[in-house]
Symmetry: D2
Subunit: 346 residues, 4 copies
């Protein structure tokens, strides 16, 4: 019962098989192989974006930081939610990759920024030479709170950003979960909603380590390529990144895996919400659950073999984050909910 | 017949099998899993360095740049050979990771720096506030010319570096090939010869994408960890990096693969050196061959299916680089040498 | 009637005379002249800090950013008030100089951080490899709101910082005003209260462009010197910086000038506070006044020749910032208050 | 007798008087004052460049590094002479300001790069994603060897640069000396010869600390402004920079001062070249002299009160650099040459 993160899971058999197939023979390095070209074409098809540029990297932090660096100069500001992964969990990678850009934090309930608040913040922002220049909006979908933006919400936010001259980055570490949650098409949840650069995360949803950066404005791709190499994120044996990504995107595997994770989380959340003293902190739109519960419950569950992270509120109220994965099965859920019932019964 | 680079080869079966084994069950992320701990222990054993800190990353550029950033401050200079990979082929990664440190180029025959030249350069280097401060020596073994430093050569160079207050980085993208070439033990070719941080490359010698940074001074490891995360090089599903590295280091596979590549190169070099109009530019100590030959030879060989990079001399004299790999087999060598014989016969 | 900033004023005659005296003859560059040595000794005396290292630069932004870079690594966080000059008015200089460090904003009434809030924020701060590492506290005295920290307040804040492992930077762009306001000695308001590096600002209080960075921990000075040169802030004709600073510190001129500015502000504030519809937003401890008043008042005052900046509240309520300077004289104050009276009379 | 540098001299009376005049009354900060506007207009007139953007900073290192950062991205290379000040004497400022760009060193006799050599180097430069991208040419006039490029030489070099896609920076720390030496107009020695950004140095030629960056392509100016502020090089009391620069440029003072320094150097060089065992290392085109002479000569001269820096050749042969200044007078020259005659007489 490991709910610490969706990155504690392994990968489905298809991914390993794809690696074995890709292993055959010689292949030119650095993305100059047939498989790497094919994966770019596939992403373009899936996103209905024939001119999009697609680049693969090995980690989500790399994808986000490289993407932000495209959109935010050293003297720029990128606006993101106060709990955004790029601010809280990447050890300053955006600042490193942008060359010292600033993340400006925008608060908002349930991990979401509202267009009104964003507009107010941007309207107030100074733009003289003394201030960093508002340059990018960075959204996450799923959000860090496990909630989802549907395409309309995204479009409203990106419209505000656009009206203030900002470009838009979308941290899609759980983009597949967002698609599964909303039923939106890849295009609807990205460029059609005003996203300029999407970081499409595979690692949290069944890959070994592969993320696709989808650059809808092709003119930015050359700079990306130089930044990627310079940051050590251009893999020489690129075919193995491509193989993972192909296996994941082909035949809808990515959406299938995300759907499974979301369903598992929904069932866990329903079960938990019925227990005394347990409250869901945020709507559970995808595969991430935040609960408020007594510290003793967490202790008991851990003693009986459940793994997860504590996630107290800012005021110290105890709580936890539980993440379901593509391989969270019925047995695990049943067992966990039974333990949770025990742990919360008076 | 692909001799473009040792990174155009696939990986041996053991590596794929190790991935499959590692795929079983849940594992905590970011290196906090059993396999990741085991690989650190194994490296320590192999290097007779019980307190060394071992960190894995996915690319050689990342390994080198992170290592250099440990040893060279933003206002520092790292001294390297004029043809060093860190200067010529990493798109400024060392400058990016160090925060603007400077690489100072030291010329030398056959890809090697001599202690005398290094001493002269360092003696002349200014150390006032107006100059960048001499901080690190960066060596490569194999060198970019395909030659090797034996432990005595290394020790002589690191002694000069030490006497001027510099720390020592070793780019070991082909460290296994250097060991196979010299018969030195891992310890003899690293810390016993004065190396502070070794980048032990697996990717060019049979791995998908895994490099170990071996930090002999454990006090530097915490900074490395922050730099690695911040650069997006801390893999969440770290077990798959560890699995590759384990499979490679266990049972001497790494040395076996390197030995095969070196032998293949030796045979190719011998064959080539007997052909009219073909000259080996550098001693072939490992798996990399530089030849001077007429441009027409290269053209003919390519027309018949051989893949390799041109490598003209500085003055424009034509030539090529040919790299043998762990899977360069007798059949390829025989076929290539036959073609070369044809191409060079009057 | 210019109340836009204390940097719109000229400099007292003594400063010009000191430049003229310093102009005589040759002097070695880059601080290696007698006058530059003397100013360091004088600062040490005034601060009762015989081992402090004193460095001069030309702007407050340079002083602050260089000082922060000493205390906060690229992967570090510096905590400052949400309205701090280093965050709001330096176009990201701290991020540039630290190499991508992060400023974490701490709210607080009247421009001040409270020890309780600081402790809460630091207690909650993550310190794993995924987070930037809490490294420095950056205080301003006077604060951006024009209020003062007395030595006890400072000591309480720096004690919290110290207990969490943070070093302390003090932005003293108006340090002299803070001394004049509190009667504290230079030592009491700096190192005795736990400050590690003080930026002692001269420019806003009667100099052409000279700030002293006082580094109480001498071991940090060599790094400062390299950072200063590398940032283009080491003046070759350093004697002219030194001459300004000497003239200012000798015979208590700096405190005299600050006292005059504070007195002027006090009189202006008293006058304004008695007018209908005008409210002082913050206590006026030094030479900076924030008023809430109807926009029409500002308009009228400007029409009659007063210069100042609007400073609306976050919610848009109109208001202004008025800064008195060392040369704000009785005539100006009287005239301004008369105009203000007119402008606010029904 | 101080020949250590032209920055050991004071400033002419006109400069002090200009400061005193500028001191009168209030002036808005950060360049928004009348004098700052006037100096920009004057530079445009003098350079026959009505759309040029002119910015002032306090040091030559700042001017150069900011200018280079405009022309060379973090992944770019700037080509400069192997002895260039930007590489040898600015503690890595270009690397800091560009965000990690690389300086590529081009050798050349007497401090000059030749068009042929530049073309060869640029033709050979890799431009794949693995290499830093050739972006800028950085020239110095006077060169570090004290020689001059005349407009034709400049034009030939910038034509090569342009043909390879590079922009051109000119380090004009001694630009006035170059004008005095060649008789070229400011325009002929800058934009008419293909220079994109000129750093026009005042400090070495009679100012306290003021340099003008002349940006001939006005579109780059906004980025410059943000970079300047962010680097702490935007002076709040900007009028005092402007006053210095006005006094210097008005009525030809700058050229007059440079002419005096050049004449003094010419006379010193002539005198020295006639002494036994003394040889001029480079042509003395401006105010900088390099001599080869026995170490004993240097010792004797110092013992008798002459100040200068040793400047041995790369191979250790002793020598010195002697710099004449605007205020190097006949008496000093005569005295120095007499001492030198004594010191070199057998």
């Amino acid at each position: 019962m490991n709910f610490a993160s969706d990155n504690t899971s392994g990968v489905p058999q298809q991914v390993l098989e794809a690696l074995a197939r890709a292993n055959d023979g010689y292949a030119m390095g650095y993305g100059n192989d047939a498989l790497s070209h094919r994966v770019q074409d596939l992403v373009r098809d899936l996103f209905e974006a024939p001119t999009a540029q697609v680049r693969l990297v090995g980690t989500g932090t790399a994808a986000n930081a490289l993407a932000l660096a495209l959109l935010c100069p050293p003297w720029g500001a990128a606006y993101c939610h106060a709990a955004a992964h790029v601010d809280c969990d990447e050890c300053g990678a955006p600042e490193f990759f942008t060359g010292g850009g600033k993340l400006v934090l925008v608060p908002g309930a349930h991990g979401r920024i509202t267009p009104e608040r964003l507009d107010a913040v941007l309207t107030r922002a100074g733009r003289s030479v003394h201030q960093v220049q508002p340059s990018a909006l960075s959204l996450s979908n799923l959000t860090e709170a496990g909630t989802v933006y549907d395409p309309d919400m995204l479009a409203a936010l990106t419209a505000v950003a656009r009206s203030h001259g900002l470009a838009v980055h979308l941290d899609g570490a759980r983009f597949a979960n967002a698609l599964a949650a909303t039923g939106a098409t890849p295009a609807e949840a990205s460029w059609k909603a005003g996203v300029d650069v999407l970081c499409l995360g595979g690692t949290k949803n069944g890959l070994i380590g592969a993320e696709a950066v989808v650059i809808f404005d092709r003119d930015r791709a050359t700079e990306f390529d130089l930044r990627r190499k310079r940051a050590g994120h251009l893999f020489s044996k690129h075919r193995y990144l491509a193989a993972q990504m192909m296996a994941w995107l082909e035949d809808g595997l990515w959406l299938d895996l995300a759907g499974r994770a979301n369903s598992a989380a929904t069932r866990m959340a329903e079960g938990l919400s019925n227990l005394p003293g347990v409250r869901l902190r945020h709507p559970v739109d995808g595969n991430v659950i935040f609960v408020d519960w007594p510290g003793a419950v967490a202790k008991l569950l851990r003693a009986r073999g459940a793994t997860f992270y504590d996630a107290p509120r800012e005021d110290g109220t105890p709580g936890a984050r539980l993440v379901a994965s593509w391989d969270t099965d019925t047995e695990q859920i049943t067992r966990f909910l039974a333990l949770a019932k025990d742990a919360t019964s008076p």
